[in-house]
């Protein structure tokens, strides 16, 4: 196909765009904004105890917190995919009474402070909670302050990112491809698996990455609902907070690890994430 770019159009009057004056008026606030965003990272790197970095990284507390964080964030993302993709599908593709309200409620965890989410989780699933009490009375199982509670807290905070992202992708996908699949004899399940899912794949991936990063960084709801027990519920952000009060150098190391993990994910998925499907 031969595209007609802007350069092949009729010549514009006046000077070409490339020779226009640089917009200095915008440059100053833009540079300030950029500096503000990277300054904290420079501070972090400047204070990193590079000489003792190796030994500190191998300390069992760091290793435990890192493994717990990676593990819970991954389990959270898997559950969010299983529950969130169908939810997104229903929101994007079906008409049911109160759909608008359901969508609004799904976005609530995005806007409330995570600490409030933690309190709400305790009131619902705690030993004296609305659901938690009967659960405890019947089975003797108490959810709060367990590793499972870490996942629940992360799921509450992070799943909406996945749902919103996948719903957007489903709305953007051309439904006529699904009709074409139906005329070829594909059942609804086959259409979803072989046509819809590949089409919305980039959106699902973006949603999963957002969900995973949000779960990895979760602090407020986790400390409220799961507490801060090393090895069991102490994830990286909680460990950073605790370390900051005892040995700031330890907090710096932990922060650096979190930064590296997040950057690795961002860089690794950049093309697929930022690019349009």
């Amino acid at each position: 196909m031969t595209g007609t770019g802007p350069t092949s159009g009729p010549p514009r009057r006046g000077r070409p765009a490339a020779r226009r004056r640089f917009p200095w008026l915008l440059a100053v606030p833009a540079a300030l904004g950029f500096a503000f965003l990277i300054l904290p990272f420079l501070g972090l790197l400047a204070r990193t105890p590079w000489s003792t970095l190796g030994t500190r990284l191998l300390m069992p507390e760091v290793r435990d917190a890192l493994l717990l964080s990676l593990g819970t964030a991954t389990v959270t993302t898997a559950i969010a995919l299983v529950l969130g993709v169908p939810l997104a599908w229903l929101l994007a593709r079906t008409e049911f009474p109160g759909r608008g309200i359901v969508r609004a409620l799904v976005t609530v965890p995005l806007v409330i402070p995570p600490v409030v989410g933690g309190v709400a989780l305790l009131l619902a699933l705690g030993r004296n909670g609305v659901v938690g009490r009967p659960l405890y009375e019947w089975t003797g199982y108490s959810l709060p302050f367990t590793t499972a509670a870490v996942v629940v807290a992360q799921l509450f905070v992070a799943m909406p990112f996945l749902v919103i992202s996948v719903e957007g992708a489903l709305r953007g996908a051309d439904r006529r491809y699904e009709e074409a699949a139906a005329t070829l004899g594909a059942s609804r399940a086959t259409i979803f698996r072989r046509v819809t899912l590949p089409m919305v794949g980039p959106g699902v991936l973006a949603g999963a990455v957002l969900c995973w990063s949000r779960a990895l960084g979760e602090f407020g709801a986790t400390i409220m609902f799961a507490g801060n027990f090393p090895g069991r519920t102490q994830t990286m952000p909680l460990a950073v907070y605790l370390a900051m009060q005892q040995s700031p150098e330890g907090a710096v190391v932990l922060s650096l690890v979190l930064l590296v993990v997040s950057l690795a994910i961002l860089i690794g998925l950049r093309d697929r994430w930022v690019g349009t499907p």
Partner: protein, 352 residues
């Protein structure tokens, strides 16, 4: 309803401000073209046949099996969409294998079937390519192969040539004609291009405003249009009037009746039609052989192939095709008053 019909359908689809009510029949191997202006309901009719649009009432029967309430995925149909809708994440081969796979054919066998079909379509070199790497004509043929791979009993084509440029269209049209000839089920083809309908179809059904206005063999449609839309498509001047013998009183929207003389006797309501090239132009009222002569004013002139089409306004608005030389010889221009003459022999008159 004929019991041996490959397709027999009455499609009624009601929507706010629109109602489609069309009957369709096709014999085995027959290609029926649905021809009509944009928004006439042709695509809705095709989607209703596929089960993608629910019928308000009516029925769809394919080879004696009632499919009226059968969901799309269980209908023995194959459909080629206007922009093909090939699955972008699959190779051409997997696109074609998709239908057989959905019918429970194993992966290897489905791929072998698809490879075979692509081979027959002359597309084996393109089997590994993604749809975006195919040319327009190749994509169209892959879409057709994909539709045929599921062994449909009813083939539905929605504007199959509309997405192609004029140059490719000629070649793809003639290949499509050959492919359709090999298919033994019924084919319904939607188009707004009369040439597609004339070349590809055995029968043409013209739809306007959701209703069938004319049906017949392409040649009959071309020779005897029954609506202004069809007349414009096939390039004829068409009028409606009342005949008594060789005289027809034609009613034109504004103004009194105009008398048209025809060669054979007719009685009652008739259509009269003649080709623009049957019209001769004169500066003075002609005498002698042309038995019809109407005063007119030149409303517009445009180039039309190697002819010049002259639009005439007057008691009987009409189009005339003359050679550029003839126009120059007469020294005519827009706004000039002239006479238009047509021999009675050149005028077709048929029952309305």
């Amino acid at each position: 309803m004929r019991p041996d019909a490959a397709l027999s359908a009455r499609l009624v689809v009601e929507r706010a401000g629109f109602r489609l009510d069309a009957g369709l029949e096709a014999d085995p191997g027959e290609v029926v073209a649905l021809l009509g202006p944009n928004g006439a309901g042709k695509s809705t009719a095709l989607r209703a046949l596929a089960g993608l649009v629910p019928l308000s009432s009516g029925h769809v029967t394919v080879e004696g099996t009632d499919l009226t309430t059968t969901p799309t995925e269980h209908r023995p149909i194959g459909m080629v969409f206007q922009d093909y809708l090939l699955f972008g994440h699959m190779s051409a081969l997997d696109n074609v294998a998709f239908g057989p796979r959905c019918q429970g054919v194993g992966r290897a066998r489905a791929r072998a079937l698809a490879a075979d079909l692509l081979d027959r379509f002359g597309l084996s070199d393109q089997a590994r390519l993604r749809p975006r790497e195919l040319s327009g004509g190749q994509a169209q043929r892959v879409a057709l192969a994909r539709a045929l791979a599921a062994r449909p009993r009813l083939l539905l084509l929605d504007e199959p040539l509309a997405a192609l440029d004029a140059h490719t269209r000629v070649a793809v049209r003639s290949r499509l004609r050959g492919d359709l000839a090999d298919f033994d089920g019924a084919t319904v083809l939607v188009t707004h291009d009369p040439l597609d309908a004339m070349v590809l179809a055995d029968r043409v059904t013209v739809i306007e405003n959701g209703a069938v206005v004319q049906q017949g063999r392409p040649a009959d449609i071309a020779r005897r249009p029954r609506t202004a839309y069809v007349a414009r498509l096939v390039g004829l001047n068409l009028y409606r009037g009342v005949a008594s013998g060789t005289r027809v009183e034609v009613r034109v929207a504004d103004g009194g009746p105009v008398e048209v003389t025809i060669a054979e006797r007719r009685y009652g309501d008739v259509f009269v039609a003649f080709a623009p090239r049957a019209v001769a132009l004169y500066r003075e009222r002609p005498g002698g052989s042309p038995r019809n002569a109407w005063p007119a004013r030149i409303d517009g002139v445009e180039r039309f192939g190697d002819q010049v089409r002259v639009h005439l306004d007057g008691d009987l608005p009409l189009s005339a095709d003359v050679t550029p030389a003839a126009l120059a010889e007469l020294g005519l221009g827009v706004g000039d008053r002239i006479w238009a003459g047509v021999k009675a022999m050149e005028i077709a008159a048929y029952q309305a």
